[in-house]
């Protein structure tokens, strides 16, 4: 058991609740999708690459981003769908960079598969662009050391975990997720911070993510 370190600054848990805003923009072909990906607000790109994390907190057959799903299921372009699906979101620190990677992937594909441009979605199966509007609220949960942090993690909402892991890093453009930042800077535990920021949260359900962070932190406490 290692000695509990009192944090220089406590960790104040926030939560993030979101509302989906419709844009009325829709694509029926790959070319239209590409053009709109370039021009829609960053909140749309964020929505379509992160929606699945909150809507499917259990295993589902849908691929984890809307662009990939539509390209595969509606246009039947499985190869492009796989390329979009496997974009490593962790490698991009801003929505701008992620957007660029997505449209470059589609442009590249269209260069050597020009017939893909000729495919149309059937009526009712168009791609609808949606924006994610986030409301960030404080919760009453505050941790002053690692033990309290773990206890709160066990009962906080998945929305709160989601906010501190995904939204803080990519949407608010912080250098790492909030948990790792606090553990490194307020508890002085660089190793634990690195372990939490080192795994890919996009390949897990949020409940699994919660359990993984709790396990890593608990192992650290017992030395």
């Amino acid at each position: 058991m290692i000695k509990l370190v009192k944090a220089k600054e406590p960790f104040k848990f926030c939560t993030r609740l979101h509302l989906s805003e419709l844009t009325g923009l829709r694509a029926t072909t790959l070319s239209q999708l590409l053009a709109l990906i370039k021009e829609v607000p960053g909140s749309c790109i964020y929505h379509h690459t992160h929606r699945f994390l909150q809507q499917h907190q259990y295993l589902s057959p849908e691929p984890p981003n809307d662009f990939s799903y539509w390209v595969m299921e509606v246009l039947g372009e499985d190869e492009l769908g796989e390329k979009l699906l496997s974009i490593d979101t962790m490698q991009y620190s801003t929505i701008r960079d992620l957007r660029e990677k997505i449209y470059l992937t589609i442009e590249d594909y269209l260069r050597y598969s020009p017939f893909a441009k000729l495919k149309f979605a059937r009526p009712g199966e168009e791609f609808h662009f949606i924006k994610s509007v986030s409301f960030i609220l404080p919760t009453s949960y505050i941790a002053y050391d690692l033990k309290e942090f773990i206890e709160i993690l066990k009962k906080i909402t998945l929305d709160s975990i989601y906010f501190h892991i995904f939204e803080a890093r990519l949407r608010l453009e912080k250098p790492t997720n909030d948990f790792s930042y606090w553990i490194e800077n307020s508890l002085g535990d660089k190793e634990l911070a690195g372990k939490i920021s080192g795994f890919d949260p996009y390949t897990r359900t949020l409940e699994d993510l919660r359990n993984t962070i709790i396990q890593i932190a608990a192992r650290r406490m017992t030395g």
Partner: protein, 404 residues
Amino acid sequence: MAKIEEYIPLVGQAVIDDLKLLGERLKGRVVQHINSTPVGGGVAEILNRMVPLLKELGVDTKWDVIKGGEQFFEVTKKFHNALHGRTEEVTQRDFEIFMETSQQNIENIDTYGDIVFIHDPQPIALIKKKAVNKWLWRCHVDVSEPNEKVWGFLMDFITKYDSAVFSAPAFSRKLPIRQFLIPPSIDPLSDKNRELPEETINSVLRKYDIEKDKPILIQISRFDRLKDPLGVIDAYLQVKKYIDCQLVLAGGTAEDDPEGFKVLSEVQEKAKNDRDIHILLLPQNDIEVNALQRAADIIVQKSLKEGFGLTVAEALWKAKPVVASNVGGIPLQIKHKYSGLLCYSVEGASFAIKQLLSSPEYAKKLGANGREHIKNNFLITRHLRDYMLLFLSLYYPEDIVRLC
């Protein structure tokens, strides 16, 4: 009626804590809902549950209903059908009737809310009373392919609202105002959805002379052409050639739907020679609807158009295998072959029903997946959260709102 704390065992303490946090942010503001009927149909059903829960969360919520005579509701039913894309002869006189009644409501209804929340087209013209308060228009209708004449008429009103709300992405189009996606929900603790003792289910079956000696197919819906009850009978007849089964068509009619009894009599006429078809008129008996859904082997929703299709969510919540049309908000609830089967025609529906009747394990799996999907996305607690965020959005135009 269930209190907010009673939802904790279903959704967890933290979800309820979030709702309370949002309620605190809305203290001091009055939210006034206005629609056209206090009973019947999905809108009244949701408001009946939503209003007391919002109050309990600290949001001062009121609910008012406009008045309208037979002529007015005949016109708004035409509007409803036309917005769903059905061919309707909407005349200049119809628009005049709509405006005459609307004018009376404008004169008689006090729009005192800080936020006035108008549901569907019937009260839409009240926007003429907009002052410094905020106004929302909630469209519960599938307007993916509306009659442009009626939509154009309504657009003059819609664009004067602060924001609009739709149930599915396909219903949105470019608008000069903000528009939000908020699917409706079901209340897991209401009489229509709560767990029932086996004895209650059996007594309802006895009451309507339904025996459990052969598989039961059920469609629960208002008697409305857009729900295609005649198509359901056709699908059942095709199934029955191969698998002996029975069909229950059950539902009520709404005060603002004058066409309902005509459709009911057509359905009764078509079913009159088949003792295995049970046509039940159930005006507002939620426990009986719940019991019938729980007694069903397969639940059908073969709508031609659907605003959302709450009966699908109700069926899935009860872990029932569902065969439903790929229209409106139904594909948001059913992922084909994962949480139910989607169809496009009578033949497709009958094929899907036969498939499920012949593969009970597969049917069971679809139902279990469906319940999980509803639990995560379509319960009233999610709906309460979305509505409170919607109210807050009226005061914060940005995409990232920091309330810390």
